[in-house]
């Protein structure tokens, strides 16, 4: 039996180990902040490809382009953290904007009241999806897929398939104050609210517990059903805000607005480091994910790449980002 334990090799190894740990620290930083590093690399690459990229005007453009998807994605983050998914956000955004425009235009509601109607529409749609998953035991994928169809259908019913001009506050949300575009302001405000909910509210912390291990959360007395309804309700409200901003930019609520945006929102969340398996996800990551998508779109536009190819490239970016993430998790 070899009871002898060598000690000399350890002494020799020490310096090498130190170097390795510094290098490991850098590697850790990159792998912990993969999306951020990716975003910076992307910006530098875009700048080299076309110096137009780094002009203040263009950067504000990127912010505006990112805003709608980012706000949708903030809402989606709550849902993903609980291991759910909300496919209805694009449709709910369109419906909420349409309801605001319709109540303002056809019912003659004051603009602020119309805006409130829009928000309540998003809240209601989200609560329905949430109740269907939490109490009706429908898988989130199915419940929100149904809501995707219902909300889009209702948008067409309300509008009769014709765009409706937006109330003045909503148009203001899509405009700018001085040099500052309002969509970017709304993006920042909604991001701050999202961060606050996830990090400072007890129900936000509970979302991580529910997504990480639903049964353990339940046995600890966390009101799992209430948490689930809340995340879909929040996703609905955030979708409504995104829809209002989008319609404000166009000064009219379009029946086909935000079609397919749910995929961009999902991509932003996942690129930002959240796991579809639940329990993981940050608002800051989601913001970065949305910026990555916006920078790519903007850069490809500047470079005159056709919209068709842009689709393909965005798809590849999502696959690569998530692939890297899966590999990283496996190693950890």
């Amino acid at each position: 039996m070899s009871n002898t334990q060598g000690t000399t090799p350890t002494a020799q190894k020490a310096p090498g180990a130190d170097i390795k740990s510094t290098r490991a620290k850098i590697a850790d930083f990159i792998s912990d902040n993969g999306a951020l590093v990716g975003l910076l690399v992307l910006c530098v690459a875009m700048f080299i490809a076309t110096p137009d990229f780094l002009t203040p005007n263009n950067l504000l453009n990127v912010g505006i382009q990112a805003s709608v998807v980012a706000i949708l994605a903030f809402g989606q983050t709550f849902v993903i953290v609980t291991a759910g998914i909300d496919l209805s956000v694009g449709s709910v955004a369109a419906l909420s904007a349409m309801v605001a425009a319709f109540t303002g235009q056809s019912w003659g509601m004051p603009p602020l009241v119309a805006l409130l109607f829009g928000l309540l529409t998003g809240l209601g749609a989200g609560m329905l999806s949430g109740a269907a998953t939490a109490y009706g035991k429908l898988p989130p994928f199915i419940a929100t897929l149904a809501m995707l169809s219902i909300a889009r259908g209702l948008t067409l019913v309300v509008s009769n398939g014709i765009p409706i001009p937006t109330p003045s506050v909503v148009t203001w949300l899509g405009g700018s104050v001085g040099p500052i575009p309002m969509p970017v302001v709304v993006l920042v405000v909604m991001g701050a609210i999202g961060w606050f909910i996830l990090n400072r509210l007890s129900i936000g912390r509970a979302m991580y517990a529910v997504g990480g291990n639903l049964e353990a959360a339940r046995l600890s007395g966390i009101p799992v059903k209430r948490v689930l309804v809340t995340v879909y309700a929040l996703s609905g409200i955030f979708a409504a805000v995104a829809g209002l901003v989008l319609s404000g930019r166009l000064a009219s609520a379009q029946p086909q607005a935000a079609t397919g945006y749910e995929l961009d929102a999902l991509a932003a969340v996942v690129i930002g480091g959240a796991s579809l398996a639940g329990g993981v996800g940050r608002i800051s990551g989601t913001l970065i994910g949305a910026l990555v998508l916006a920078v790519i779109r903007n850069g490809l536009n500047l470079l005159n790449v056709s919209a068709f190819w842009q689709q393909v490239i965005i798809g590849l970016v999502i696959a690569v980002a998530v692939g890297i993430d899966v590999l990283r998790r496996k190693r950890a």
Partner: protein, 500 residues
């Protein structure tokens, strides 16, 4: 046959980032011999065997199989070398059938399709070796933790490995199953299989082991024969001696705290009634499948029941409402910490705080200071071994994970603690700490209900012992009048009268 070890862990070291978990340890495993690894929770035992199982690769040092230095980068490579591993934490896929779990990756095929008949035959054969008689078509998740453990063992045995690694295989088994398992192990040993065996039950070492490698804080301490007396093993392991294994300080029982009357759920338990007084520890004993876990889960509001009442301090608890039970001071430490106790991806602090997360919030805001203070106080009191409160709970050793689940209820100030197998996978030193905690709780006027499959623990720590059999209360004994024989004869009572 040569004397060459089939496996040598040669001066292996494993680091996770800056911390060294296994530090220059050497272990030899011989053909037909059982090498025991002994050490406290977090000593590095699982990490050590994980390097052989293909979960981790050593940071330095080498693994020598049959005299040749070998790399084991993944589980496939490990299996290809004839190594089978039973991991400490259950690895079964709960939605798949027992048979599919046992034969995962090597399902019998016929014309390119899974040969179901053969699959069930092979699975049944494997289950028979461990003495488990269940339908292999059932989903694995439908089994309790002890039976899942037996399925894991059956799976490993069916690989016909020549080196078998058993990481705490007995942690959730009762005496009966352990004896059966030891029979199988002895048989394999005589067939020349080499084994690594990890357990916190010291009596098992002399019963089954050949040689013991003791490690402490990741470092090699000594290698001693398995016949070494237990107190000496303890001293090597924890660096001090433990005078009293079951330090129960009885408190005079006071007013009844928890009263259960006629609790019944069809198919699980029938007419269960008992009372626990403030200052009392009630042990619940019984065979695997006697319905102990089902009853305590129902009491804690985790599952519904058909009829009966549960009252705490005279106030009835609503059926199946966990939050109400918690508010009344009931805390449940479930038997399967990985599945029901912990959010493995979240931090130690978060896990310690879940029971108070909602109730301590003001205006919906997390009580961040309070949560942090409670967590650090409890972690200190239970001596949870961790890098920081922010560490992922999944990276803690098994015993320390158990302390975290327990700590959650201490932190919530629960007065009726329901502990389901509270010392499963907990080392001797930490066990005593948990027992002392039970003393503190009862001394402070709380009550403890402890379900345990370890008879010595039930006998040593309870004031009264309730024995369950086939979903019914077979009898209640005062601890003073109870011994292994009286408890066991009650535990098998109903079963026999039913089956004769």
């Amino acid at each position: 046959m040569s004397d060459q070890p089939i496996l040598i862990l040669d001066h292996v070291t494993k680091r996770f980032g800056p911390i060294t978990v296994v530090d220059d340890v050497t272990v030899n495993v011989h053909k037909g011999k059982i090498q025991v690894l002994l050490g406290e929770n977090g000593a590095g035992k699982s990490t050590l065997i994980n390097m052989v199982a293909g979960v981790h690769e050593p940071s330095s040092g080498q693994i020598i199989v049959d005299g040749a230095p070998t790399r084991i980068p993944d589980t496939k490579a490990s299996e290809a070398l004839g190594i089978a591993t039973i991991h400490q934490e259950l690895q079964l896929v709960s939605s798949l059938s027992i048979a599919e779990n046992i034969l995962m990756g090597r399902l019998p095929q016929r014309f390119g399709l899974v040969d179901k008949g053969e699959m069930y035959r092979l699975a049944t054969e494997a289950l028979t070796t461990v003495g488990l008689h269940v339908d292999p078509r059932m989903p694995a998740g439908a089994l309790g933790i002890a039976r899942q453990q037996l399925v894991e063992i059956a799976k490993a045995l069916s690989l016909k490995a020549r080196l078998l690694i058993l990481d705490e295989p007995t942690a959730s088994l009762t005496k009966h199953e352990i004896e059966h398992l030891f029979g199988v192990i002895s048989q394999l040993r005589s067939e020349g299989v080499g084994m690594v065996f990890i357990s916190h039950h010291l009596d098992e070492i002399a019963a089954i082991g050949d040689s013991v490698t003791v490690i402490r804080d990741g470092k090699f301490v000594a290698e001693v024969p398995a016949t070494t007396p237990e107190p000496d093993l303890v001293r090597l392991m924890v660096g001090r001696s433990i005078d009293e294994q079951f330090p129960r300080r009885a408190t005079p029982p006071q007013q009844p705290l928890l009263r259960v009357q006629g609790l019944t759920r069809k198919g699980s338990f029938t007419d269960v009634s008992f009372e626990v007084r403030a200052g009392e520890v009630l042990g619940i004993a019984g065979l695997v499948g006697a319905g102990r876990t089902e009853v305590v889960r129902a009491i804690a509001g985790a599952d519904p029941y058909d009829t009966g009442t549960v009252t705490v301090e005279g106030k009835p608890l609503p059926k199946g409402r966990i939050a109400a039970a918690i508010a009344a001071g009931v805390g449940l430490v479930p038997e399967d910490r990985k599945a029901f106790g912990l959010v493995l991806g979240a931090s130690v602090e978060d896990n310690l705080g879940y029971a108070t997360l909602m109730s301590s919030a003001r205006y919906g805001l997390v009580d961040r200071r309070g949560q942090a203070e409670r967590a650090s106080a409890v972690a200190k009191r239970l001596a949870v071994r961790m890098r920081s409160l922010g560490q992922r709970v999944g990276a803690l050793s098994g015993g320390n994970q158990q302390k975290v689940v327990l700590g959650r209820w201490i932190s919530a100030g629960s007065r009726v603690l329901i502990l389901d197998e509270p010392t499963r996978g907990v080392d001797v030193g930490a066990k005593v700490e948990i027992y002392q905690l039970m003393n503190e709780i009862t001394a402070a006027g709380g009550a403890v209900v402890m379900v345990s499959s370890e008879l010595p623990e039930v006998l040593g720590m309870s004031d009264r012992i309730l024995v369950m059999s086939d979903g019914r209360v077979a009898g209640v004994l005062a601890a003073a009048d109870a011994d292994q024989r009286t408890v066991m004869s009650l535990a098998v009572k109903e079963v026999e009268s039913d089956r004769v």
